[in-house]
């Protein structure tokens, strides 16, 4: 039997790695939505409310300084870009770029996210 050439070997390894990427890829865990004009807290609450109405969204964090809303998806679910844009439009805004990504390390606090530190709250 003829020994595979180096070129063939490299191609096989590349195909093997690509397969791993395809089948190992996990669905996005959140969407980061650029939204211009985020300044009024009532409007921010409204934006969060409309995004949370999407069945796939578990929580929404907004950053007024960054001008973006981050929608965390429920495990195993996600919303399409069209759905996200429609929700933002219903809230009275226009969505800019939308990035789908995995959540960062859970131990790291989100940068200047507009959320209170709920762990600091004592039971009363």
């Amino acid at each position: 039997m003829k020994t595979p050439s180096t070129k063939t070997f490299v191609i096989l390894v590349a195909l093997f790695l690509a397969t791993g990427v395809v089948f190992g890829a996990s669905p996005p865990e959140r969407a980061v939505i650029e939204v211009k004009g985020l300044a009024c807290p009532f409007c921010v609450q409204g934006l969060e409310k409309h995004l949370k109405r999407l069945g796939a969204v578990a929580a929404v964090h907004t950053s007024l300084q960054k001008g973006e809303a981050v929608a965390d998806f429920k495990p195993g679910r996600s919303a399409s870009e069209e759905e996200l844009r429609a929700a933002v439009k219903k809230a009275g805004f226009t969505a800019g770029r939308i990035r789908f990504e995995s959540k960062p390390d859970e131990t790291a606090a989100p940068e200047d996210a507009d959320q209170p530190d709920l762990n600091a709250r004592e039971e009363t």
């Binding site: 300044a39 009024c40 807290p41 009532f42 409007c43 609450q45 409204g46 969060e48 409310k49 949370k52 007024l64 300084q65 009275g92 507009d114 959320q115 209170p116 530190d117 709920l118 600091a120 709250r121 004592e122 009363t124």
Partner: protein, 341 residues
């Protein structure tokens, strides 16, 4: 351009255009805030509260604020709760947690106190109003999501008149809804629109004047609007280009997203002009008197949000969402009984 035509334009056409533009601008400011001719009043800063002694964390992103007949101050904040403070800022109590049961909230936003001391809280996310005793015991809830009578899409600021009727700003539906003390629907006031009396565009704040009129912070029409207790539009105050088109303003001619309003016993009006990061004092009919600007305000966040006034009308409390604190202002001259302009 031929020389003759150029001369015609320079000596006839241009002055006509400039004159027409000046006339248009002058006449277009008819509905701006006129200067009021009343006894000079000013604000002075009395201090800030950050709720450092509140169990469960300092005040964070406060939105609604109200003062009880005994002077206690109620605040809603992003920790999904209602906090009660003494008039000197000391913690008294708090209630609320995340949930959709009795005494639970999604996003508590507006808060108002009735003459009998009961407390109403609007839930922006859950589209309902909850009523509590002064110490937070749940009494009843009313409202649900929808566009029908008695239904809400993001209830925001609210107020209670001397007869116990509750007025709620229905933010996304551009209207005010009136309810009885038991939550029974009474009527709808105002409707969606940008132009003309009675048209509302994202209303956020409500106050009741001494004569029973309704005063609305019509946030994205950049104006205040008065309605009679029967819901009839009475007047508007703000900057309106060419009489009709509401526009934001940073001068004493108008507002930039006024989100909260309170009326003192002597009739003077106090407005949180959130987009201009200031609190504005007006006469009873909306004439500009004075203002106080938030020092070092974060330019990216509209703040302060809502405002409430002490029973004697001398002390103002405003929620400074951007700085996680309550602003306390005092009026600097004695209130003239029945002062009007």
């Amino acid at each position: 351009m031929p020389r003759t035509r150029g001369k015609l334009w320079r000596w006839i056409g241009l002055p006509i255009v400039v004159g027409a533009g000046a006339l248009w601008t002058f006449l277009g400011t008819r509905w701006t805030l006129p200067s009021a001719n009343v006894t000079p009043e000013r604000y002075e800063l009395a201090g800030y509260w950050d709720g450092a002694d509140v169990p469960g964390g300092k005040i964070h992103r406060p939105m609604g604020i109200a003062v009880a007949p005994n002077g206690d101050v109620y605040v809603t904040d992003a920790r999904t709760r209602v906090v009660c403070l003494h008039r000197d800022g000391r913690f008294i109590g708090q209630w609320g947690r995340e949930g959709n049961g009795e005494g639970e909230f999604g996003k508590p936003t507006g808060v108002a106190v009735a003459p009998d001391g009961s407390v109403y809280v609007s839930d922006f996310d859950q589209d309902r109003i909850q009523k509590f005793t002064a110490d937070g015991t749940f009494l009843l809830a009313f409202g649900q999501s929808g566009d029908g009578a008695g239904q809400f899409d993001a209830p925001a600021g609210l107020s209670v008149d001397r007869n116990g009727f509750v007025y709620v700003a229905d933010f996304y539906q551009h209207r005010i809804q009136k309810f009885g003390p038991d939550g029974t629907f009474q009527q709808t006031i105002g409707r969606s629109g940008r132009l003309g009396d009675g048209r509302l565009h994202y209303p956020t704040g409500v106050a009741v004047t001494a004569d029973g009129s309704l005063l609305i912070a019509d946030a994205y029409n950049y104006e205040l609007q008065w309605f009679s207790d029967e819901g009839r539009p009475l007047r508007r105050r703000g900057f309106h280009l060419a009489w009709l088109w509401p526009r934001p303003s940073s001068s004493n001619k108008g507002f930039n997203v006024p989100t909260g309003v309170a009326v003192a016993p002597d009739g003077l009006i106090h407005v949180t002009d959130s987009g201009n990061h200031r609190i504005v004092m007006l006469s009873a009919t909306g004439g500009y008197i004075a203002e106080w600007k938030v020092p070092d305000a974060d330019p990216t966040i509209h703040s302060p949000e809502q405002i409430a006034i002490s029973p004697d009308g001398r002390t103002l409390y405003a929620t400074d969402y951007a700085a996680d604190r309550i602003i306390i202002l005092r009026r600097t001259s004695p209130a003239a009984p029945g002062a009007r302009s």
